[in-house]
């Protein structure tokens, strides 16, 4: 049973391959933590120091947040398209589409209404 769902480490040398898998996954978490710390520190620093114009701080916050979400999905949730069935990714992308339509539509319509009230 384990042979069918296993990988090559059932057939090969178990301990070596397991150790290699362990190091690879540990490295992935450490990369994820390092990147997330960097992507958190920079926008906090920008807002705290407020050395550049507010417009560019908004843009930077948005870009860093988007990259950080992708980092979390890739390194912590292990959504890894080339090596994985596509179901999870399809579910996530479809949810993101629905979310973008509903949240974007709400913000658009309510901002439009608010501007007409004045």
């Amino acid at each position: 049973m384990s042979r069918s769902s296993g990988g090559n480490h059932i057939a090969g040398r178990p301990s070596d391959d397991l150790a290699a898998d362990y190091r690879r996954e540990l490295r992935s978490y450490i990369y994820g933590l390092g990147l997330a710390l960097l992507l958190t520190g920079v926008p906090f620093g920008l807002v705290y120091g407020s050395a550049i114009p507010a417009f560019w701080i908004f843009i930077a916050i948005g870009v860093f947040a988007l990259i950080q979400v992708i980092v979390h999905v890739r390194f912590f949730l292990h959504i890894d398209p080339p090596r994985q069935k596509a179901d999870d990714l399809h579910l996530m992308l479809f949810s993101a589409l629905i979310l973008a339509l509903m949240a974007g539509g709400t913000i658009w319509i309510l901002a439009n209404l608010a501007s007409r009230m004045h």
Partner: protein, 207 residues
């Protein structure tokens, strides 16, 4: 048995855990569907917050209420707890004994509680300034969104304690392993929601 490789979101336990590996795919995919519907709930609360941002009704706005240093420490606590949960998952997958697993879970739980403690402290200081959720549309939207995330983190902490109790009674059996995998998805998902909260609500509000 088919030769199909079983892949599901989150950490894959693999062949070392044939008991929990079989059947994990459906369970975790189902949990993933729940997380995505939860993401839509959060997303719409974000949209409400963005629409209400300027509806302060003459009351205090983000710049008067938020303390960036406290938010930064909360962010670090939650981010580190996501990493330590990852270490717990690796201990589950590769460890032979349950000691390191329980230790990493305890560290994660402690960081989660630090986060909750700081967040409650923030909310209390906002209340002390007389700015409760009934004060303005902005504060209603804020108190609809951010404490909902805190409530999720609290639920995650309770779930973690329950899993450790199950571990103490039954050992690390199939149910506990599948529970730990699902809690892992939940915990990492909450960190992603927090990235959106600190970017949109706190950093966006303080800019």
């Amino acid at each position: 048995m088919t030769e199909k490789v079983i892949y599901h979101p989150g950490l894959r336990l693999g062949a070392a855990h044939p008991d929990a590996h079989e059947g994990a795919e459906e369970l975790l995919f189902g949990f993933w569907v729940f997380l995505m519907s939860d993401a839509i709930v959060f997303g719409l609360l974000f949209a409400t917050y963005a629409s209400m941002l300027h509806s302060t009704a003459g009351g205090p706005g983000p710049k008067q209420l938020f303390d960036i240093r406290s938010i930064f420490v909360e962010t670090l606590a939650l981010l580190l707890s996501s990493f330590t949960y990852g270490m717990a998952s690796l201990s589950l997958k590769y460890g032979r004994r349950s000691g390191p697993l329980v230790a990493w879970l305890c560290v994660t739980l402690a960081l989660g509680l630090v986060f909750l403690g700081l967040e409650v402290h923030d909310f209390l200081s906002i209340f002390h300034q007389g700015a409760g959720p009934t004060h303005s549309g902005f504060l209603s939207a804020f108190f609809g969104l951010v404490p909902l995330h805190g409530l999720h983190v609290f639920t995650g902490c309770v779930w973690m304690i329950a899993l450790m109790a199950q571990m103490a009674v039954y050992g690390v059996d199939r149910r506990v392993k599948l529970g730990l995998l699902r809690l892992g998805l939940f915990w990492h998902f909450l960190d992603i929601v927090w990235v959106a909260i600190f970017s949109v609500v706190y950093l966006g509000g303080l800019t």
